[in-house]
């Protein structure tokens, strides 16, 4: 049953983008496409060949595959409730974070490889913002590690609510907030980035993949959907105690994924995006929330450690 996590990630990835799209369509008074439209688009892209600019080299050609592979790899580390992850070892959340960072690194150097001034700008922004975001994840996971006494995703999540202490509920909520915000920033959704825009100068992630086409572009899109699902599953693990029975967990899982997607869709419908130079402050705030969890642990921490 250790593959439950992976299956869940794929399921979430399957419905997530479609629900966001549908929510946005309905919020803007349109009917909107079916929930699986993003995958129909991807299947079209997969049938196409890729065109490579003459200024690009090998890096540009291998980067989309590496990025997707790194995300698939990261999916092995996330458990589903009491069913542990496929791969689990002490400190695996650090590995998780940096395997994703490896994928990002390749997408950044691939963007630089094109030699386009836009893509360089996008790469610069992506590197900067993800650098600012990194502390949030680590501080939060460090707090969890201190609270539970374990350092792998599987152990942390299995033991999260075992102590029965009410304080864990606060950490759960803070964690959900941080993971949701991280997911939004990592996936370049509003308010940090606008995935729908056609304006090269305002893009972050989209501008980095301007030169990608066909098959490669499909891989990149799959990667972003997967990334959302990874965080969706992390949120599920925080929100649902592993002690619950499997059917209840599956139901909770689906409800949480749909609700998350609807929340993202609604946020994107009813607000404008940030001004670019406000983004660093916005992202640092996420780290700030993670710090709150960390400090609470430091202050009242002793008791939780078994």
């Amino acid at each position: 049953m250790n593959s439950a996590g992976i299956i869940a990630v794929f399921m979430a990835a399957l419905i997530f983008p479609g629900i966001i799209l549908r929510t946005k369509s309905i919020a803007s008074g349109r009917k909107g496409p079916g929930i699986f439209q993003p995958y129909k688009d991807i299947s079209v892209l997969l049938k196409k060949g890729s065109i490579f600019s003459t200024t690009t080299g090998t890096i540009f050609q291998i980067a989309p595959a590496i990025t997707l592979a790194s995300l698939l790899c990261a999916a092995f580390f996330i458990p589903f409730g009491k069913y542990g992850a496929l791969i689990s070892f002490d400190g695996d959340f650090i590995f998780f974070s940096y395997i994703i960072a490896l994928g990002r690194f390749f997408s950044i150097i691939a963007a630089l490889d094109t030699g386009s001034s836009f893509e360089g700008m996008g790469a610069n922004r992506e590197a900067f913002f993800s650098m600012l975001l990194e502390p949030a994840f680590f501080i939060l996971m460090a707090s969890f590690a201190m609270a539970t006494g374990y350092t792998s995703f599987t152990d942390i999540f299995i033991n999260f609510y075992l102590s029965g202490n009410n304080f864990m509920l606060i950490f759960g909520l803070l964690g959900i907030f941080v993971f949701l915000q991280t997911a939004m920033v990592e996936n370049c959704r509003l308010p940090v980035d606008d995935p729908k825009t056609h304006l090269e100068l305002t893009m972050i992630h989209e501008v980095m993949i301007l030169d990608n086409s066909g098959f490669d572009k499909a891989l990149i899109h799959l990667g972003t959907y997967l990334k959302f699902a990874l965080y969706g599953l992390l949120i599920f693990n925080l929100a649902v105690p592993p002690a619950w029975t499997l059917p209840v967990q599956i139901a909770c899982f689906l409800v949480i994924q749909v609700v998350l997607a609807v929340i993202v869709g609604l946020i994107e419908s009813f607000r404008a995006r940030n001004k670019m130079n406000k983004n660093p402050k916005y992202i640092l705030t996420i780290s700030g929330v993670a710090w709150i969890a960390f400090i609470v642990i430091l202050l009242v921490g002793e008791r939780f450690i078994n």
């Binding site: 919020a27 056609h198 404008a272 940030n274 001004k275």
Partner: protein, 505 residues
């Protein structure tokens, strides 16, 4: 009457070419400097007309205090032509001097920015091609250049933007246009059928079909026989205001789209459709093409269409106000609009901005008020302007102008119902008043539109000059993004929504 310049208190204005004083250049320079030193005067057109070995230079200046158009001229030989630049003192003339320089090789000494404008096929220096435009550049380790266009990701016209950036911050923007040049001014002379010229005028800038067609129709009418039909005048004003409303609402949608505010975007897009569909109901074309013709109209307003317009305006107006009230108070939108792309009143004056770009910087320039034409002569337009000059001011400007235009149309339709004279069919005149120069101004949604025509002794059009508001206003965009973030450029661009083809002709 003074002998330095001709002052005509009419719009459209007409005079015999020989009545325009011809001064020596130094005197011309003094006179024009004296006139332009006044804040209320700005240049409408400044162009050269080849007459054999010589070039005859004409300048038309709008005087907003006396509601008049000032005309004066000078002659120069083609070969020995080096003049001290007027644009060095009055930057608003920079475009005109560049154009003359590009067409006839005249040197303007001291001109700060003597670069090509639109690369016409008969330009003086055939070596100057669009591929080797002399961009301004700075050598520095810290700075980098970003070139955007001429092919863009969105559905916009071609134009090249060259940014010099320090990281995310724009230090300098140079806008290179000319990709849309179709030689309309030349076609106006070679296409001799009057109907063809009307169609050409409608296509100078696709989003200002009514504005340009009206400027052209006024010009032809004053050169043949002026029309005094009040009903026709009212109908033309209604068409012009409909165009203004449609574009302003569409641009509000685009502004929301640029800051990713989906609700504002989809609502305003839908509202714009209702407006242009009503125009289509009237004349069969959503952009009002074929609606404006000299001497009359093929599509006189009917009771049914008028009622439809009223009904549509009431509904659209209410919903637009409701939506913009929400847009312009939403914190996340305000954070993107406020203090972005500011152009001060001083800068606006210096650049000679016109239309809504000037009004949103606190400079009240409105041809409907200063040089009233058509039915605006007997009708008061309330001035709308804002002083902050940022994207928010331009967004507010559009909202207020839509509200004002709705008021105008509503009362115009009331007047129209009272004054029902029959509107005749258009008259296409082959022979125009000989040896004359006529200037026609209208206030399109973007701002002042100026058409100038000169006829020869046989009554044929010898020279036709067109100036869209964009010709002045593009420089405002370049200034607006200075020291802004490069990611705010699209927003600034959209807030002006200038015409590429209106500039390139």
């Amino acid at each position: 009457m003074n002998r330095k310049y001709l002052d005509i208190k009419a719009n459209p204005a007409i005079c015999n070419t020989e009545d325009i004083p011809v001064l020596p250049y130094h005197e011309f320079n003094d006179v024009v400097s004296g006139i332009l030193a006044e804040e209320s005067n700005h240049c409408l057109a400044y162009f050269a007309v080849p007459t054999g070995e010589n070039l005859q230079f004409y300048i038309a200046i709008a005087d907003d205090t006396n509601n008049s158009i000032i005309l004066t001229s000078f002659t120069a030989e083609r070969k020995s032509a080096v003049f001290p630049s007027l644009a060095a003192k009055f930057f608003q003339l920079h475009g005109f001097e560049r154009e003359i320089h590009e067409n006839y090789g005249i040197q303007f000494e001291g001109h700060p920015w003597l670069k090509p404008v639109r690369f016409p096929f008969n330009r003086y220096n055939q070596d100057s091609v669009i591929e080797n435009y002399p961009f301004y550049s700075i050598e520095s380790e810290e700075l980098h250049e970003v070139g955007v266009g001429p092919v863009h990701a969105g559905v916009i016209e071609p134009g090249h933007f060259r940014f010099i950036c320090n990281g995310e911050k724009v230090r300098h923007l140079e806008i290179q246009l000319g990709y849309q040049h179709r030689g309309i001014e030349h076609l106006m002379l070679t296409k001799n059928s009057p109907l063809q010229r009307c169609i050409l005028a409608e296509n100078i800038a696709g989003d200002t079909a009514v504005g340009h067609a009206l400027a052209h129709a006024q010009l032809i009418e004053i050169l043949s026989e002026p029309v005094a039909n009040e009903t026709l005048h009212i109908e033309r004003c209604i068409a012009l205001e409909m165009e203004r409303i449609a574009v302003h609402i569409g641009d509000t949608a685009a502004l929301c789209g640029d800051v990713a505010y989906q609700l504002g975007q989809v609502v305003c897009e839908a509202l714009r459709t209702t407006v242009i569909n009503t125009t289509q109901l009237w004349c069969g074309n959503r952009f009002g093409k074929s609606l404006i013709r000299p001497g009359g109209s093929n599509f006189p307003l009917t009771e049914e269409v008028a009622n439809n317009i009223l009904k549509m305006l009431e509904d659209t107006g209410r919903r637009y106000v409701e939506m913009t009230d929400r847009i312009l108070t939403l914190p996340s939108v305000l954070a993107r609009f406020e203090d972005i792309g500011t152009v001060s009143r001083e800068q606006a004056l210096k650049l000679g901005l016109v239309g809504m770009a000037a009004r949103s910087s606190g400079l009240l320039r409105d041809i409907r008020i200063s040089h009233p034409f058509q039915f605006y002569r007997n009708f008061e337009v309330h001035p709308v302007y804002h002083s902050s000059g940022d994207v928010l001011a331009r967004a507010l400007q559009r909202k207020k102008e839509v509200e004002e235009s709705i008021r105008i149309i509503q009362s115009l339709i009331t007047r129209w119902k009272e004054s029902k004279t029959t509107v005749s069919r258009p008259v296409y005149h082959d022979r125009l008043r000989p040896s004359s120069l006529a200037v026609s101004l209208t206030e399109g949604w973007r701002g002042e539109i100026c058409h100038v025509a000169m006829t020869n002794a046989q009554g044929e059009i010898q020279q036709y000059k067109i100036k869209d508001a964009s010709f002045h206003n593009w420089m405002a965009l370049a200034l607006a993004v200075r020291n802004q973030e490069i990611s705010d450029f699209p927003l600034c661009n959209k807030s002006y929504n200038l015409s590429y083809c209106g500039h390139d002709l």
